[in-house]
């Protein structure tokens, strides 16, 4: 079993189809009689819709229908719901303006959907859209986060004064202020967490289908959570009961958060299919992805850290402006609050933390969770301010961190910002990452680089994140409008093979492999005898889906619970057949054995007996072997670790080259190390992208400047060095597997490591901070300004 069990680097089951072109992504699916939708979008950031004349488009060749927001609203279609309600510090609920699938009355960002044209071919739909006469009266727009909160800023909604969605706080301000008053030193920093576009390589794609004879709808969707979409779209938007709505999330080409949310186009194709009695397909063009996939990050922050004379952290205070975009996306409000400010203690014993967050609406694409979601923003500001403090106090950055770590014997540890960390060992990962990158030898490398005329810098980042979202009672008290458990069904077939139906959804994570390892290991059956089924509401009973690195910690634990039920029932059956008392029957290595004897039955034999119950305790047990479990976690899980980056900067061009990167992560027990390392690699690349390359830019008028791969700089293979990854395990104490989650650590830990390295490289010139992304232009300018200041 060792070669496929827990801890083995098993090659992935799913790869065979992906490598031979047999993957089945939504756009690969075609339904009989299928029509194609083209969505006409606003090309201006803010305008009143005076009129929409669709007559010429309706008459165009191949066109079957054209619908506007008025058509959908008139038919009783509701707006897109928000799944999390945040309350302001004065107790008022957040402002939650309507978000119709097709704009009604006003358009509020470039890309806001205005009308849908449905035709026999996509080309016909697209051409006909040109014939729609859209009369817009342009309004002043605001895209910038700071500008939106300034007095006199253009206002998006009449009912949202000052564009303020909420004004939220966490922490005891009086206690915090008192701690600052005692500080020997206060480090201060203003920083921006740049807006990003998630850019899963598969563009979003949806097919709505309708069977009029049964009144049944099917939605094929590139989603991370089919059941959540069924609930949101069925119950809130279209009014279709669950038994008449099937949602299928087939192979999905990456998500990173952007495919969690219920999007307008899902409702549009499903509703249109019902209107027309024919399937309707919509596939985003990449330029549409840029202006309609939920964006990530976009915070403007001021942070202060108070230290005593020995460099011990006394207090931290943070104020953040968070950009929500033009409407509230599904989980947007919780990202800059409960997924962000609750992590502001980081790995440190800071006794008091206070954070105020103001969320604002702007004329931009809605912002929501993107890989890491809130935790990269928290980690970035913590690790930058710690480096500023290290620089100002003259304490080595590694030493300053070590001095303030929560010690490994202090767990469970109550932070000042609500969370209780369960376990960790931060020294271990710090030591490992420093050793991997040869921290001791750095100054020699810096000197060598200087001889070549290069500035070399090293940067450390430690991080902690809360994953495995989440205890339902906790998130419920914080405003979540759903529970966040997971469901699993383990169906043992008569001859002992097993199908597992999981509510988790794989869009690159390799669940078909990892989960099968778990099941084959537990049941003692061959890896090949296990099939993992996901992504179809008609097959899987329920599920909350995959995000926040929750699949193994929550979904995997649900599978364990269901497997335990299977084993308990099978043990009873085996005891009866083996004529032993139940207490005497033990299960190990796939055998039910009467203790101390050689009387045993294999897992498969018991399964057969359960389905062919000739010698079976029918008075006590039902035939069959098929169990279901729902698992609601007791706490979040807390992956943590340390990333160290080394960069070289060319002073003449400002080009930053990442030359060395080491990650040491504690993600709990590792089921498949190959997959875990791959998750870290991918996350690191996205984090390096944020630090050095990526930025979603709007101009002052609200036009999206970075609307394609020509303008938005994605990380490419030659932007990255090989990444050293190691894992160091402390077992999560409150789930059966001891697992924590590995999907987001890379994107959380890496940006501050890279930025600390960039600043370190330039610190001899007097540079104190560089904003992300550290583009050549920005770095060149920083060097020039610093040299100018030195000369003046």
């Amino acid at each position: 079993m060792a070669d496929t069990g827990i801890g083995a680097a098993v090659r992935r089951t799913e790869d065979l189809r992906f490598l031979t072109g047999k993957g089945r992504y939504t756009d690969d699916i075609n339904r009989p009689g299928q029509l194609y939708a083209y969505i006409l979008r606003s090309s201006v950031p803010h305008a009143t819709i005076r009129s929409i004349d669709t007559a010429a488009a309706v008459a165009a060749p191949g066109v079957v229908a054209v619908y506007t927001g008025a058509d959908m609203a008139g038919a009783g279609v509701n707006g897109l719901p928000c799944g999390w309600q945040v309350h302001s510090k004065d107790g008022e609920p957040m402002k939650e303006p309507a978000h119709p699938p097709l704009a009604v009355g006003k358009v509020r960002h470039v890309g806001d959907p205005v009308a849908v044209v449905i035709a026999e071919s996509y080309a016909q739909a697209r051409e006909a859209a040109d014939a729609i006469a859209l009369d817009l009266e342009e309004l002043p727009a605001v895209a910038d986060t700071r500008a939106a909160s300034a007095s006199g800023a253009p206002q998006l909604f009449d009912e949202v004064p000052g564009n303020l969605c909420y004004d939220w706080e966490i922490g005891d301000k009086a206690v915090n202020d008192a701690a600052f008053a005692k500080a020997a030193h206060v480090a201060k920093l203003d920083l921006v967490n740049n807006r990003l576009v998630p850019n899963a390589m598969e563009p979003r794609c949806y097919i709505g289908d309708y069977d009029p004879t049964r009144g049944e709808y099917t939605l094929y969707t590139s989603t991370q959570n089919p059941h959540v979409i069924r609930l949101l779209m069925g119950a809130f938007v279209l009014g279709i009961p669950e038994n008449k709505l099937r949602v299928v999330g087939p192979d999905v080409g990456g998500g990173f958060g952007s495919k969690i949310y219920h999007y307008a186009e899902e409702a549009i194709v499903t509703w249109s299919a019902g209107q027309l009695g024919r399937a309707v397909k919509w596939t985003a063009e990449r330029s549409e992805s840029f202006m309609s996939d939920a964006h990530g990050r976009d915070h403007v922050t001021h942070v202060e850290l108070a230290l005593d004379a020995d460099g011990v952290f006394l207090a931290m205070r943070v104020s953040t402006l968070a950009n929500m975009g033009a409407y509230l996306s599904t989980f947007a409000p919780c990202v800059p609050t409960y997924l962000y400010a609750t992590l502001l203690a980081g790995c440190y014993r800071t006794p008091t933390v206070y954070c105020n967050v103001k969320a604002v609406f702007t004329n931009t694409v809605p912002v929501d969770a993107y890989r890491g979601a809130g935790r990269p923003e928290a980690t970035y500001l913590i690790e930058r301010i710690v480096d500023v403090a290290a620089d100002e106090t003259g304490i080595d950055p590694a030493e300053l961190r070590r001095r303030n770590f929560i010690p490994k014997d202090a767990f469970p540890y109550q932070t000042p910002v609500a969370l209780v960390y369960d376990i960790g060992d931060y020294d271990q990962t710090l030591d490992a990452a420093l050793a991997a990158i040869d921290y001791q030898g750095f100054e020699a490398r810096r000197a060598e680089a200087a001889k070549r005329g290069r500035y070399r810098g090293i940067g450390i980042s430690t991080y902690i994140e809360a994953c495995g979202i989440a205890p339902s009672n906790v998130v419920g008290s914080l405003g979540a409008r759903a529970g966040l458990y997971e469901a699993a069904q383990v169906r043992v077939h008569p001859t002992g093979s097993v199908s597992v139906y999981t509510g988790s959804h794989s869009h690159g994570q390799g669940h078909e492999t990892t989960f099968a390892q778990l099941v084959s290991d537990t049941f003692g059956i061959p890896f090949e005898s296990v099939e993992i089924v996901h992504g179809d509401t008609d097959k899987v009973l329920f599920g909350m889906g995959t995000y926040g690195s929750r699949s193994l910690a929550v979904g995997g634990t649900a599978i364990v619970k269901a497997m335990n039920k299977v084993i308990e029932k099978a043990r009873k059956a085996a005891a009866h057949i083996l004529e032993a008392s139940e207490a005497d029957v033990e299960f190990a290595d796939g055998q039910f054995r009467v203790k101390g004897t050689d009387r045993a039955m294999s897992f498969g034999e018991v399964a057969l007996a359960a389905y062919v119950p000739h010698k079976y305790p029918l008075d006590e047990l039902e035939p069959g072997l098929d169990e279901t479990a729902f698992y609601d976690p007791k706490n979040f899980t807390f992956p943590a670790g340390c990333h160290v980056a080394e960069v070289e900067i060319d002073p003449d061009t400002g080009v930053v080259t990442l030359v060395n990167f080491a990650a040491a992560d504690d993600v709990g027990r590792v089921i498949n190390p190959m997959i875990v390392e791959g998750q870290v690699h991918g996350g690191v690349a996205q984090g390096v992208g944020q630090a050095l390359l990526e930025s979603c830019v709007y101009d002052a008028q609200g036009q999206l400047v970075t609307g394609s791969y020509m303008d938005y700089c994605m990380p490419r293979a030659d932007n990255l060095p090989p990444v050293s990854v190691s894992t160091h395990v402390t077992l999560c104490p409150h789930n059966d597997l001891g697992v924590k989650g590995c999907g987001e650590v890379g994107a959380i830990g890496s940006p501050p490591a890279v930025m600390n390295a960039v600043v370190d490289a330039l610190s001899a010139l007097g540079v104190k901070h560089v904003e992300m992304p550290a583009t050549p232009q920005r770095v060149w300018q920083a060097i020039r300004d610093a040299k100018g200041a030195a000369a003046a």
Partner: protein
């Protein structure tokens, strides 16, 4: 205006009536049902659509189907021999060179063209060659490793 395009696709002659503006990728995916070749962008940058036309890697979103009349086209579906994967496919599997799989067909086809030109590419050469292929999942680390291993296997080494 529609035109008839005839080509050798993965060793078999195929023919289809397409509009003259039809891109090769659309013909493959929509007319011929070969959905292994993907579309990830509209600016010829992501490389999800890479196929071979007469032995050279080509972004099939950037070439007209009509230009390929009479050509020999190979897609990801044409690499494996029955159930035996091509060594480059096998190397991607062994080295976890894919996660969601969406960029993978283009990566593999692009890698094969690199190895045809340079049977023993260095890590640096691989990274530079992949300039035109985006992957959002893997961070490229394991793709580079896969291509190195695939090239070695194709040279007959182990």
């Amino acid at each position: 205006m529609s035109v008839r395009v005839t080509m050798t696709l993965n060793g078999k002659e195929v023919s289809a009536e397409v509009e003259d503006r039809t891109l090769l990728v659309s013909m493959l995916r929509e007319k011929l049902g070969m959905t292994g070749t993907h579309v990830g962008c509209d600016t010829s940058q992501c490389g999800a659509c890479v196929v071979h036309v007469d032995g050279r890697s080509v972004k099939s979103c950037t070439v007209l189907a009509a230009q390929c009349d009479g050509a020999s086209v190979t897609t990801i579906e044409g690499l494996a021999k029955g159930n035996t994967l091509h060594p480059m496919q096998e190397a991607f599997r062994d080295n976890h060179g894919l996660q969601c799989g969406f960029c993978t067909p283009g990566m593999v086809m692009s890698a094969l063209d690199l190895v045809a030109r340079n049977p023993d590419p260095s890590e640096h050469e691989i990274r530079e060659w992949l300039e035109g292929n985006l992957c959002r999942c893997t961070g490229y680390h394991n793709i580079v490793k896969s291509i190195k291993a695939g090239a070695q296997a194709m040279r007959g080494g182990k």
